[in-house]
Symmetry: C2
Subunit: 610 residues, 2 copies
Amino acid sequence: MSYKFAYNTRDIKFILKEWLPTEEILAYDKYKDYYTLDDFDTIIDQVRKVAAEVIAPTAEDADNIGARWENGQVYLPPSFHTAIRFMHENGWATSNLDDEAEGVLPIVLNSLLFEIEAAANPALFAYMATGSGVANVLKHYGSDEQKQRFLPKLFEGTWGGTMCLTEPTAGSDVGELLSKAYPTDEPGIYKMKGQKIFITCGDRDDVENIIHLYLARVDGAKNGTKGLSLFIVPKFWVDENGNLTPNDVQCIGIEHKMGLKGSATCALVVGENNNCRGWLIGNPPDENGVGEGIMQMFNMMNEARLDTGRLSTAVAANAYWNAKDYGKERIQGRLLTDPKAGKVTINKHEDVKRMYLLNKATTEACRALLAKCYFYDDVSENDPDPERRKWARKKMDMLTPLCKAYPSDEAWGLVAESLQSYGGYGYCEDYPAANSARDCKIWSIWEGTNFIQSMDLIGRKWMAGKGAIFASVLGEIDEFLAQYKGKIEGMDQEMIHLEKALAAYREIQMTIGGYVGAGKLGLMAVYARRILTATAQTYCGFLLMDQARIAKERLAELPADHYDYNFYLGKVLSARYYLNNAVPNVWHILELIKIGDMSVIDAPIEIFDY
Amino acid sequence: MSYKFAYNTRDIKFILKEWLPTEEILAYDKYKDYYTLDDFDTIIDQVRKVAAEVIAPTAEDADNIGARWENGQVYLPPSFHTAIRFMHENGWATSNLDDEAEGVLPIVLNSLLFEIEAAANPALFAYMATGSGVANVLKHYGSDEQKQRFLPKLFEGTWGGTMCLTEPTAGSDVGELLSKAYPTDEPGIYKMKGQKIFITCGDRDDVENIIHLYLARVDGAKNGTKGLSLFIVPKFWVDENGNLTPNDVQCIGIEHKMGLKGSATCALVVGENNNCRGWLIGNPPDENGVGEGIMQMFNMMNEARLDTGRLSTAVAANAYWNAKDYGKERIQGRLLTDPKAGKVTINKHEDVKRMYLLNKATTEACRALLAKCYFYDDVSENDPDPERRKWARKKMDMLTPLCKAYPSDEAWGLVAESLQSYGGYGYCEDYPAANSARDCKIWSIWEGTNFIQSMDLIGRKWMAGKGAIFASVLGEIDEFLAQYKGKIEGMDQEMIHLEKALAAYREIQMTIGGYVGAGKLGLMAVYARRILTATAQTYCGFLLMDQARIAKERLAELPADHYDYNFYLGKVLSARYYLNNAVPNVWHILELIKIGDMSVIDAPIEIFDY
């Protein structure tokens, strides 16, 4: 059986049609003549069908065949070619970034469609998504000439794209990269020299060209990240007539990974024959040697961070739905609470139900968080009011580290619980859980490790705008509590937990502030990852309660045999589980932080030899 | 690089020579003429060398070649043959169970030697250990004739052994197994018929014969586990002259697993040609159809549960030591607390040190727990006083579910943190972390899932002897607190946490008792796994504090430049980390249990379709 697509789209429909104020998005000029909320079911069903029938059949090839490197060329599993082309040609991929095109999909909708597609084959996802990331950067920062030369083919998907940051000596510390760019006689054109590693989709055999967004330092520019500039370094140079000639970009190998084997993770060498050209995006370094590269690259990086959360959610949710399908068939044991009822399917056992509900509640929490962020993305890109665009961008910035790190942290534990629910079969590759477990581990690492996300949250996001922006995110929870506390029937305890978590969270902020003031900066780093988790749990607790509030209203109107009844009941139970089991962790983390254990700081590195 | 052996033995020496009262063991008749504590360093160093030079070179073959099945025969990677033979021939394996032999290794010592060996190649471990499990069952329950016929070859390791419980329809629910045994004219000899799956070492090409301990139901015996009997079902039947003839035991395939690929997980069919014989161990089912099989098999099962904890500890600790070796070499980033000091090796970063200390403290906690249990094992097998043997056996019974489940639960998260510390390289199979992550997942499942362990703890162990036995385990912590509270310098806070955890733990017991009394039996199952964790954290908190107490005494005597200084300092820091970060989880779990969330119980299975 191996990998298996088992996605359910009901929660996605709920998010878009019943929870988020999606009408606001659909009123934008870009969308208003093309879509109404009534179209969403059809579109989502269509993508579910495409994911199942076009993408999912390629998933076993991802793991069994994998990406292959030979003589400087990466070969994808042949089935990938057809699926990727299909997605591009039918308007499900990069063409939605084309502002000139008619009927492009709203960002908030397309982002959730991508979750479905990602679940069908997570290794294939990047081949569709990286070109979009490049297109987005060029849309924002490219010159007209660059846009004309590169965007049409990227929109079509006949050219791919990559994000070239990491080098052997520069992983988390991007500013240490050694790639250099030397000016030529042609304005804006540089000779490139360097080596990159861990480049997702760095080479592939299904596209005519690959547009690398390449971070390098112009000769003489400042050290560190500030001195970096961003270049368009195509695999094949594109002249003004669109002719392609080799550009001295070599793929010297791919990594042999624990999972996600269909996704080529490439090592690239550029300019080894002194014959690689790059086209500078934006302005050259200023008189202080400061370039625009890192700021430009962050456009794509932030997108990749959201992608990471989305992939993690997709794979965890898909593993869970596979597990519950298995649980319907597998008969084993008797119920603790009713042994006389005889043998039962395992999905009736309390501990198995616990594993399912943990998975259901947590993946729904992650999906809600991401959807909220993509909603802001749509507002920030398309709202006619510049103030509202700015407001949405700020909200999105606050949530991005949570969106990247929380789902990717949780996925490892969630998939393990799904796997556990199969018993010994879970460990066998004939069942889908093992593959998902192997796939998901990279996501806590790439695109900025989850520690980097945590420090971004605490060090940067907490402080932005003198703390007012982050405070406004927490303020959403205050408003929710003020409006609904005591008013959601049967959920008083859960609301009390939310209130308690919010207060504890603010105390976490103060406690960390106190440590920093007392010169114990190291404790901020020691507790950083736990604080990120507490942040996500507080905020997601709010989101799930808000969803449960709506679900409660629907339940009140529906008879228990209505086809949607169990969906809404499930939403309420997800919130109850999450608020009673995950959210209390927030004040537990506060308590740990207040202990202020110095053992990590005090530890000389020599003790780790034992 | 792939799998790599990086074990340090200092903590093992500390446990045996400075912490546990091992002298008591060495005074037993069996050992007293052969070993003193002074010999231990040499023996441990020798095994460390053997593990590194003989076993570890086979570890890459485990993953790259794996066990192979062809035409009914399992083939081990060729390198395994030599290593396994070496271990047997040099007295490091099953020969230590031979009571007639001179100079057998004390159980408490050998158990920790096995941890070192397991770390060198966890997939090879079972080929050495399963024969010992069979030998132990035969020593306890076999007839003299059976002992004579089977034990010598098992002691030599020229025959292997297995534990045959699981069947396609009988995993966690062993009592459902379908294997049957039909009496023949020969007393004690039965015709066997059935199918087994997930049989570790179920077939192999490095031994002359395999002695399956086979659980089956004598025709007409009672349903459920009570009706089961245990049989010796050799791959080749052994006549009174030691001649071997095929016994209609077929290996019809092996599983393709996520990890531990060198360990053959076999499907066996016995008696398909109506020609398989089994030799009953002990008595046939009584007049009520009740057999002795499950009780006998539990001897080997309990041993396998301890093995599981030991494997988990070994693999997690080995992954950690590999990670810290990498951290010494890899330069990346600047210190948050001292950026001006320039680029540093990553082992100086707070979050990396946190990952190391989490691993160090938790693996030491697991090792201490297991060592304590193996100490009781030695007492229960060898103490001259039958009352003390019984006492030790009871203590061991209490700790067994913790020994199995806690290390195997923790390993998944611990190895993930080691892997994380490499950055992207951690996800690449050229580095050792990915292999360890894939290997360790089975251990939370096999030999009774960790939920089964948790229910064994709460349902059986809490209640045994009207609760007095488990209370005596907690009583050890009371005694420790009474003796040392306020007396371990600089560790008052940690002692307060231990005291608070113990009180919280007792309240957990009362709260669960209250739920059961109120008819909420389901909540016991819902919280079971968390309760097992809380139990282990409370007890391990005590063990690590007790070790830190000794380490503190040593530190007071040593100059800071003494070669052992950092070891003892590390023991103190492990205890500080564990008591300030893991142990507070006990009262957090109490709080969750008191919330008494009913969402899992209330959830109809239909909600999991969404």
